[in-house]
């Protein structure tokens, strides 16, 4: 076997191996419903049959009773903001869960004054394990907080420009907003209770603001009564959607998407026929060559 032939076979084998590995390797991206690891959102997708949305154009035409969980880690286009606006005003419920993402872009477009602070909420005392896991103990009586005494957030922020009447949950009095990121409270930094879950009525629908999307990841569901809160969301909706189109895609995810897309293309009749023909040609080539070269060799 010549060196050229060896290199070609080796490259082809490596490519096939990489494709297989990529196809079967589980995703480890934050908030992805395909991710079964601690930072994924597979549990909410499977246990509560939340339908993942790869595009906001897939939102239902009649959003009455539907709930969309949106983690806005990517910028929105005007068309997407229009779709969200229509979804809410026509009776849908938008759960906008953000900490350091683009949630304020949505709020601004919807004409709401409340904003995500974008600064880290720390609670050195009322917490789960350490101050990065603030325990939310002030919960107002509401169908969303039924049977829920406390929530635990994970590297959260807080909401600003809120009214007390619509605040559903606030952090403890010991919490503070770490504006200079030094991990300790300074005299001019806002202290708790700080609003972290908030409700806005808009048109026929609602916007629920949650100052930490990590509430929905697999590892946070079982802590304190986080699961009750999610169950209450599910119990008060007819259809649950979880947006995946505003999560930053990793290389692995992009490659998987590319492979899936390629598979879709290959599933098209013309491509299928072409592929089969190619396989036939490659398979039959040695036989063809034998026949053609026969007289020369003898």
């Amino acid at each position: 076997m010549g060196l050229r032939k060896f290199l070609i076979i080796l490259t082809a084998a490596l490519v096939i191996m990489l494709i297989m590995t990529t196809w079967f390797l589980p995703l480890d991206e934050d908030f992805r419903v395909e991710n079964p690891l601690w930072n994924g959102a597979r549990d909410i997708s499977t246990d509560f049959t939340a339908k993942p949305l790869e595009s906001l154009t897939d939102l239902p035409a009649s959003p009455q009773g539907a709930t969309l969980v949106l983690v806005p880690y990517l910028d929105f286009t005007t068309e997407e903001l229009d779709q969200l606006n229509r979804f809410v005003r026509e009776g849908g419920r938008l759960i906008l869960a953000d900490d350091y993402g683009h949630g304020n872009q949505v709020l601004e477009y919807l004409g709401l004054k409340t904003r995500f602070s974008g600064e880290t909420l720390l609670d050195p005392l009322t917490n789960y394990k350490n101050k990065q896991f603030p325990r939310i103990i002030h919960l107002e009586a509401d169908p969303l907080t039924a049977n829920t005494e406390s929530l635990v957030f994970n590297h959260a922020t807080c909401l600003i420009n809120t009214a007390n009447t619509s605040t559903l949950a606030s952090s403890s009095s010991f919490s503070f907003l770490d504006q200079n990121d030094n991990g300790i409270w300074e005299e001019d930094e806002p202290v708790g209770p700080l609003p972290v879950v908030y409700r806005h009525n808009l048109g026929s629908g609602q916007v629920i603001l949650v100052a930490d999307p990590s509430l929905f990841i697999n590892s946070m569901r079982t802590i304190d009564e986080n699961n009750s809160f999610i169950q209450n969301i599910v119990a008060t909706t007819t259809r649950l959607y979880i947006d995946q189109s505003h999560l930053p895609p990793s290389e692995l995810h992009q490659t998987k998407s590319l492979l899936a897309q390629s598979r879709e293309y290959l599933n098209m009749p013309l491509a299928t026929a072409g592929l089969v023909t190619l396989v036939l040609i490659i398979t039959l080539k040695p036989i063809w060559h034998k026949k053609e070269e026969g007289p020369e060799m003898t």
């Binding site: 239902p60 050195p124 789960y128 039959l284 034998k290």
Partner: protein, 640 residues
Amino acid sequence: MKRLVIIISVIAVLGIISPGLPALGQPNRTPHENPGMATDLLDTAALLFHYSQILNLAASMKYQDAGETLKEIREIDIPDELRYLIDRYNDLCQQLFTTLDSLENTLNEASDLIDHNRSDEAKQRLDTAEVLIRDASFLLADIETATDTLSNRLRISASTTENRVREAYARLQESLEQLRRLLERLYNLQQSLTERYTEITALVPTRLSLNIMPVSAFVGDTITAFGTLSGDGTFLPDKNLTLALDNRLVATATTGTNGGFLANITIPYKYTDTMTLVAVYEPVDGDTGKYLASQSPPVIINTMFYRTLLEISTTQTVHPGLPFTISGQVISGDSNIDRTIDVLLDDTRLAEEIVSGQFSVEVTTPEHALPGNHNITVAVVPHERYAGISKARSINISMLPVYIDAQTPSLILLPKSIRIHGTVNYDLGPVPDARVSLTLNNSSSTVRTSPDGSFTALLKAPIDLSFIGQKEMTIDVEPLEPWATNLKVERQLIAINPLTTGLILVILVALTLLVCRRSQTAYEPKGSPLAEIIELPAPTPLKVPRPGLTGIKGRILSAYWGGLEAIEKMCGINMAPHITLREFLRMIKALLPKITGQFSELTTIAENALYSGYRQHKDTAATAEQLAEDIKEELGRGTT
């Protein structure tokens, strides 16, 4: 070759580096960390610091706020060895805040009573305040001791290396000092109020009597209150009095020349069995330095009204957008008068109706009502002598489940259009105009149900890569009615793709043929003994077609044929079609040793020309031709 190696290397390097590039674009804050891997950490400095804040709130007389904040400390995850101490510390603080709050209120009341010359009541408050000050002093001393114990347990000392902890502890001590100063201030206030009390006890005491006529009355009726005011053995004329019913001012009166007073009081629409009336005299203007205040003994008024009874019944489960009936009975005393009832779902009013006796009201659940448990309340509005009443029932708002009966084929051939019939129903009957979406791979079809709930959809199943296998067809039903749930049904179909199945068979057949041919070739005996070859019967010469060859390759092969022909003639052995060049070389090695070297070299050149990818050089062709000539010449000399 070099080019190929470079291209592959570049692709490999890019493949290794590119996955790391997105790290440059990650957000600068961590969205979360694995809670399972997070470390437990009690922030001692923060704990002390927040205790100091709580005590500061108390020192600022914000006892409620201090108490509320203290409650939150109970939510802290405290190590077990500190748990008892922290709990006890919290209890002591809470007790101190409650005591200080009571003390402050009591002193305020005492001050107010002294201002109005109400000496007896002021004395009671001052005595209570004295007890509370003593309790607060003990509690503060306990807290100071507990603070020392806490600092020992937390190993806080002057040598503590962590500045934050030292600073927080110093703040806590400062907060305790502020509390001590607060207690001193309150003690001084109590003392000054006691002095003022002593001063007013020298004033003339007064006495106030109070009677009513009648002693029983319906709500809304008017009664007459009367009595006298006296002091220092004489009736006091022209003094202003106030009359309060259940601590609410209802009338004022002025005493006449004989110290008597009279007032008409309308009983408010308050549906209780009794009300308490008192008359109060508080000296004003010039009388403040002369008379003490007085309050009449309380007089009980028996109030009468008609009680209302309400019975309601409703269904346990209702559906958004669908009406339901609440029935019941309103009994208003002995009569059967019209009463107004309000029907509320949680805090939302659904209906207001005027009913009499038994009633049946139809209300509609709001379309946007969220599924789950809610309260439905029926409230009878109070009306004059008739008291109001309300009763609540828990109801469950739920969506009506939808059922589908769809006939789907279990076996399909691809590509094909599948016709699917079915009906959509719920417990109330057929579901009209519901949106039915069918999806099979990338193909989908959407139809709406007819008034009888039936639908017919045509779904195109396109050709794809599969050949035989199971496919999942999804049917989504979205009813228009707000009270009906969506439905998703999955059906498994066996799909056969004749085209791909046929092609796979062709490939398998081709592969089988190829393998058979290869194995036949590989079966040829290797290195057969020369004796066996020689003993073989002379093979029949084959007329092998030799096509005209051109170019360098042609020249080389022509030279080989030339040499080969000469050898075949000499040996009488023809090169059969199944014999390779090397096998033929091995066969004639023993027969023609003289030309073995030349023919071996010629065979190698011919093999290279036939099988090597390299372009053959002109010199090689010339060498081959020379070797062939040498072989022919050698054989022609007959020296072999």
